[in-house]
């Protein structure tokens, strides 16, 4: 199973740049970049913080998919 996220889509929906989201959540832009590219799995706390800023629930923002499934 593989963890994917929909941060980029929902960030764009709210017309936020990566820098905007990073500052609201309290991390660096590079962290948001790494998250959106799937290079980094956030801590539970950070996942909740991002979800709150984007007005989502955590399980709407992150989901597990089978390893071979393409998004």
């Amino acid at each position: 199973m593989k963890l994917i996220n929909h941060i980029k889509q929902h960030r764009a929906r709210l017309d936020l740049t990566q820098q905007d989201l990073a500052e609201r959540v309290g991390v660096r832009r590079q962290t948001i970049l790494a998250l959106e590219k799937g290079k980094y799995v956030p801590s539970t706390l950070l996942a909740f913080q991002i979800a709150e800023v984007l007005g989502m629930k955590v399980d709407e923002l992150f989901e597990m998919i089978p390893e071979k499934e393409r998004t």
Binding site: L14, E23, V27, R28, Q30, T31, P42, S43, L46
Partner: protein, 245 residues
């Protein structure tokens, strides 16, 4: 929508400014160079002591992993030195772990800094962007070194030989560009360069590594640093594939 809050410059930017001051003024007044140590070690020490709470979990993870990689490489070097030096007949006085060999500490420092920087930059920016920036840095350094190498330019040698450093600098710039667009291909090229470097350096190392009974640590460090840069950047790019980050 909430107003975006603009923050004060981070501790790292302040440290960078202090570091530059240390480097610039330290040339004329050496004790000021100590500001460089403050810049490098200040923020991490404050963070670990809990006095600086600007922790970004991704950056922290990158720092910890880079530190672990550095520990692994240094431990491996020291272990290999202890195990193999007596076996291949290196006198006790010439091994890394001999206290009086002050130059070996400089060797260890150079390798340690190189491993940490490579690991940190590649993790932080991802393989393609990280390697591209590393190569760009080397291209700039090579170019600056070339400009300063006046004795080479003034030497009475065929002009074509004088073009070799120019070609090298241009090649590194090209590799820095291609690392983002063709990561795997660039990685393979870097590994080929690693092989060529190993072959080219072997004969030189044989004759120049030990001079008058002393290991030329700076030469050994240069050889290892170049090999490590080529190996780590090459392998990172090959593993990342041709879908650049």
């Amino acid at each position: 929508m909430n107003t975006v809050v603009r923050r004060l410059p981070s501790a790292d930017w302040i440290a960078l400014g202090i570091g530059f001051i240390g480097l610039a003024v330290g040339r004329f007044f050496p004790p000021v160079m100590g500001l460089l140590a403050l810049a490098v070690f200040g923020p991490p020490l404050l963070r670990e002591a809990g006095l600086l709470k600007d922790a970004d979990e991704f950056t922290q993870k990158v720092v910890y992993r880079a530190s672990f990689h550095t520990l692994l490489v240094m431990a491996l070097l020291l272990f290999l030195d202890r195990i193999f030096s007596p076996w291949v007949g290196v006198p006790e006085s010439l091994t890394l772990t001999t206290a009086f060999q002050g130059f070996s500490l400089e060797f260890l420092r150079r390798i340690m800094v190189m491993v940490f920087l490579l690991s940190y930059l590649i993790q932080y920016w991802g393989p393609a962007h990280g390697v591209s920036r590393i190569l760009l840095g080397f291209a700039v350094l090579t170019g600056l070194e070339m400009v300063n190498y006046t004795s080479y330019w003034n030497a009475e040698i065929p002009a074509v030989y004088k073009l070799v450093p120019v070609g090298l600098t241009v090649a590194i710039f090209v590799l820095a560009w291609s690392a983002r667009r063709f990561p795997r291909t660039t990685g393979l090229i870097l590994l080929v360069f690693l092989a060529l470097h190993a072959v080219a350096s072997y004969s030189m190392m044989e004759s120049d590594l030990v001079v008058e009974g002393y290991i030329q640590w700076s030469l050994l460090a240069l050889y290892l640093q170049t090999s490590m840069v080529l190996a780590i950047t090459g392998i990172s790019l090959v593993r990342s594939g041709n879908i650049y980050d």
